[in-house]
Symmetry: C2
Subunit: 247 residues, 2 copies
């Protein structure tokens, strides 16, 4: 068990969609910034680890279970914990609870440390990770698998200025936004996600032309993001019909 | 002088751009949510005024002076004040200060109240506005003027799912994002805004096809947003070269 860190958040209008429900893609970035505040408190902010080790954190995978999406002006508690790590991977959870203490969303994020100069994955330095009190494990958690997409619907889109983050590449949260937006508006307003998983394979550069691929079957959408002949990210989202919901 | 309300904010990575500077378009939405928190405290939240009066707030114009854009992890104070109102318009300022108390950004926003049913502008009810202690003025502040664009560069873009807010139309902050993104990436990373003004004319619906028009001349960009043969918004941005800056 690692040290836990939590904050509360009352959802403002700019964090919800047309259904008045949490916008999940931007929320992934919000959660990363929140875990950054835990790291700052522990003396392990991004700036410190870059200056002391020449390393930067990179998310490789997400697995997310959604029982219910919180709504406009609802107050939630976000609790994060760096639960465990092995030679190369660190595993962090985010649990989002409503005011009654019910678990709404559970996020599992896989992180690696990259050497900024060589761009290679670095072993996790013990003294870097120590303050989080995470458990050291031998086993490498198996990241979710993805099918190869066949007969996918393809759409092109240009990378825009505000897609680029301070690392000079497309922000992680944009890939999920693109996956959502490769689906029809009508589908999106009549469905809600119950589970999704994402894999980041290669960063996307400014001004790139991106191809989104999507296959929807049996309430599941499978996604790929391509640019310059390279697979950049994969995703899978399970959807429930909003009509089935009691809300 | 109206009642003032302030919050501090330490800029997380998802609120800054590739230059590590505040992303202004999303920040406009952030400021509106902040003024909403003042209204909630005064018993005049959006929900209350909708339920009691059938009215909704709409921003018609912005005028924004930028001395310096705050940077990643910088802590700023945002102070807002509903300064004055007349029969139809309410005027609100947002002042953004750095930790030394220097004024970085000044935002003047023009608001009207719309009758939700008739979609017509409503006179401002005295008892609705009273808690803000704004000054009642006779004079209508003159909103900035705009040139008609000639020989503009035109680009088309599709409205996307996450462009739509809980009011069912494109969020105000997206128009400024579109204006920025009608400029070249190279221009945006080598310039910074020193002033801009925006006028909202007509809302943009989901799934619309939008045309952005832009003319750049002498360090000033002029913008129009069109959809379905209708002018939706106008904007003007003054730019300074980043090389001229002392930062």
């Amino acid at each position: 068990m690692g040290l836990r860190y939590q904050e509360t958040l009352t959802l403002p209008f700019d964090m919800v969609d047309v259904k008045q429900e949490l916008k999940i893609p931007g929320f992934l970035a919000y959660c990363l910034a929140l875990s950054g505040r835990q790291s700052d408190l522990l003396g392990r902010g991004d700036k410190e680890i870059f200056e002391q080790y020449g390393l930067v954190w990179v998310v490789t995978d997400y697995e997310v279970d959604i029982t219910r999406l919180p709504r406009y002006q609802e107050t939630v508690t976000i609790e994060t914990e760096a639960i465990s790590y092995n030679k190369f991977f660190c595993y962090r959870t985010f649990h989002i609870y409503d005011e009654a203490g019910e678990l709404l969303i559970k996020i599992l994020a896989y992180f690696v440390l990259i050497d900024f100069e060589t761009r290679k994955v670095s072993p996790v330095p013990e003294e870097l990770i120590a303050p989080y009190q995470s458990e050291r494990v031998k086993k490498v958690a198996r990241a979710p698998k993805y099918d190869t997409l066949e007969e996918a619907l393809e759409q092109e889109r240009e990378v825009r200025y505000f897609d680029i983050d301070l690392n000079g590449h497309v922000n992680n949260s944009k890939y999920l936004e693109w996956m959502y937006e490769s689906l029809e508006y009508e589908f999106l307003i009549t469905h809600r996600p119950t589970y999704f998983q994402l894999k980041y394979i290669k960063e996307v550069a400014p001004e790139a032309l991106v191809t989104t691929k999507v296959v929807v079957e049996n309430g599941v959408s499978q996604h790929e993001i391509w640019s310059n002949g390279q697979l950049n990210a994969q995703g899978m989202i399970k959807w429930g019909s909003r009509d089935d919901s009691k809300q």
